[in-house]
């Protein structure tokens, strides 16, 4: 049995998580073919209709097909994941490497900033950022990301400062290796496994937070098929059109669950002692 097959056989979280994420990617990629309608195709004749053969998930207050909107919503979720996590990794890893490697004042300043953003409620702080930069999906992603890079910095910093005292780094220095090369050839590659685990664990958090802000009306704006936005407008129709709340919510739960499983599995595999919130 190959190692990879063995890993997948042993690690149930990784197995199920990978499959679920693949399905999600498939849906997002082929949304145009899978969705029976366009996400903004309104049918005034068929408003607030329950699930039927034509509309599996029913229709909303404008007569738009909920299934199609849920399918297109997956693209938004993935956009949030990719864009948001890239920003976090970029800020967090860079600062972590710098502060871990060049101790001293730089380290103290960066650590202080990381502690600060780490200990403040992320939704509140991103709401504060949104007041400055304005509403909208991309702004929300930016806001969430600039308040949640700290976990990357903390982990990468800790790894870096222990790695830089390892014998192989000292040896490299003795063999005249320069500092940039030490950072990028010796230290960064050894932090990659932890970063991968953190990425997979922060994707669900980022998606959830961004959706929450859209739910509050600060993120994606109509007519976007964003799940959070869909949930927020569903509240008015809870009594007679519960499907409006149920299906987008379940899509969100599926997505978060899939990435959570993947993250757990990767953590068991790559860095069992790592903790993230």
């Amino acid at each position: 049995m190959s190692d990879l097959a063995y890993i997948f056989k042993k690690n149930r979280y990784l197995r199920v998580g990978t499959i679920m994420v693949m399905i999600l990617l498939f849906i997002a990629l082929f949304a145009d073919f899978l969705a029976p309608f366009a996400f903004d195709e309104a049918n005034r004749e068929a408003r607030l209709e329950g699930p039927s053969a034509d509309h599996w998930f029913g229709t909303d207050e404008f007569g738009r097909d909920v299934l199609s909107r849920v399918i297109f919503g997956s693209r938004i979720a993935l956009r949030v994941a990719v864009l948001g996590v890239s920003i976090q990794v970029l800020i967090g890893v860079t600062l972590g490497l710098i502060s871990g490697y060049f101790a001293g004042v730089t380290d103290q300043v960066v650590s202080f900033l990381a502690d600060l953003t780490w200990s403040l409620p992320p939704i509140i702080m991103s709401m504060a950022v949104i007041t400055i930069i304005g509403k909208g999906l991309d702004n929300t992603i930016i806001a969430i990301s600039i308040v949640s890079w700290a976990q990357y910095t903390r982990v990468v910093r800790a790894k870096t400062s222990s790695l830089k005292n390892m014998a192989f780094v000292e040896t490299a220095l003795a063999y005249n290796e320069g500092h940039p090369s030490i950072l990028f050839r010796y230290i960064l590659p050894n932090t990659i496994p932890s970063i991968i685990v953190l990425v997979s664990l922060s994707i669900p958090n980022t998606i959830m937070s961004t959706t929450a802000l859209s739910f509050l009306g600060l993120g994606a704006q109509p007519p976007s098929p964003d799940w959070g936005l869909a949930l927020s407008s569903s509240i008015l129709y809870l009594m007679n059109a519960p499907w409006l709340a149920i299906f987008p919510g379940m899509a969100l739960v599926y997505t978060v669950f899939a990435f959570n499983l993947l993250g757990e599995g990767l953590r068991d595999l790559l860095d069992p002692r790592l903790r993230a919130r």
């Binding site: 403040l120 409620p121 007041t131 400055i132 569903s234 809870l238």
Partner: protein, 312 residues
């Protein structure tokens, strides 16, 4: 311990100063002039200039900051442009509400999550353990606001058992607290389990067995006590998330706390209210973090030493 306490307090003050600078600069980072933001277009320019002077907006930035801090110390957070009332008086009623909500949620998370986690660790690999862990993984994926919507649908709209909005009686607590805590319980549970399993593999647990202690004593005195310390650390680390959850939930259940106020203020561009809310919530978070650290230091002698400068 005293040195550690002082050190931790100083750190906290530094954090609060940093937050206040951030919050203060919000007003200046916003596009447009603060006076334009709080006045009508109809107000003539000379009145605006007068207002600028009055607010001290013509002073150098650091002086404006000091003035702002001084006002806050006097309890003056400015005036809400929406309600035209002093922001501070609104806060007075709303802060306790948010504190009660988050406090209850934290308590519920702890009281439900930790025992379940302990039991799952004790019965590792049993059917109970597997069921609890799988359920908790699913629960961790439930966004609080969706849970809230579902709870409203089930208990409020269809069963009509519980009130859907407001915050006046114990019954009003049930749904909001449940919405916030459900995901948290799941996290707490899994964390407790993994902490306990980590401690179980520590060498000192073997020592405890080796000196002849019975399983019960080992588990309570050496495993539970040590893991509770770590669990407390984790619990307070999750505090920012609980507060975040509370902000969202307050909106759904129309609870008159800081969260609802903040959301409305952002939508209305009510600057002074936003500033005040963010500042107060941040200060409360920082303070509770300090308290938590002191509590943990009191329980764990290693932290006292490593953080107060002694030892290596």
């Amino acid at each position: 311990m005293l040195a550690y306490t002082i050190r931790r307090l100083l750190q906290g003050i530094l954090l609060i100063i940093a937050v206040s600078i951030l919050v203060f600069s919000m007003l200046h980072l916003m596009p447009g002039d603060p006076v334009e933001l709080i006045t009508d277009r109809k107000v003539p320019p000379d009145v605006k200039a007068e207002m600028k002077r009055q607010f001290g907006l013509d002073l150098p930035l650091y002086q404006q900051y000091l003035r702002w801090v001084k006002n806050i110390f006097r309890g003056d957070f400015g005036i809400s442009i929406r309600s035209k009332t002093p922001v501070a008086s609104t806060f007075r009623h709303r802060i306790p509400v948010t504190l009660k909500l988050t406090g209850t949620a934290l308590l519920v998370e702890f009281l439900v999550g930790v025992p379940l986690g302990l039991w799952a660790a004790y019965k590792k690999d049993s059917r109970f353990d597997r069921a609890v862990i799988s359920t908790s993984l699913l629960f961790a994926a439930l966004p609080s606001f969706w849970v809230a919507v579902m709870l409203i649908m089930i208990f409020g709209v269809h069963l009509k058992l519980l009130p859907l909005s407001g915050f006046s009686s114990a019954k009003h607590y049930v749904l909001p607290v449940l919405s916030i805590a459900l995901g948290g319980i799941a996290g707490m549970l899994r964390m407790t389990k993994s902490e306990v399993l980590d401690v179980l593999n520590e060498r000192f647990v073997f020592t405890a067995y080796a000196k002849g202690l019975d399983k019960r004593t080992v588990l309570v005195k050496h495993v539970l006590y040590n893991s509770i310390i770590l669990i407390l650390v984790m619990m307070f680390l999750s505090l920012p998330w609980i507060i975040s959850g509370a902000v969202i939930i307050e909106n759904i259940f129309v609870i008159p706390g800081m969260g609802g106020l903040l959301t409305q203020a952002i939508i209305n561009q009510d600057m002074f209210v936003v500033q005040g809310c963010v500042l107060i919530i941040s200060i409360l978070t920082v303070l509770s973090n300090i308290l938590a650290d002191l509590l943990i230091a009191a329980l764990d002698p290693r932290i006292r030493v490593s953080m107060s400068g002694g030892g290596n």
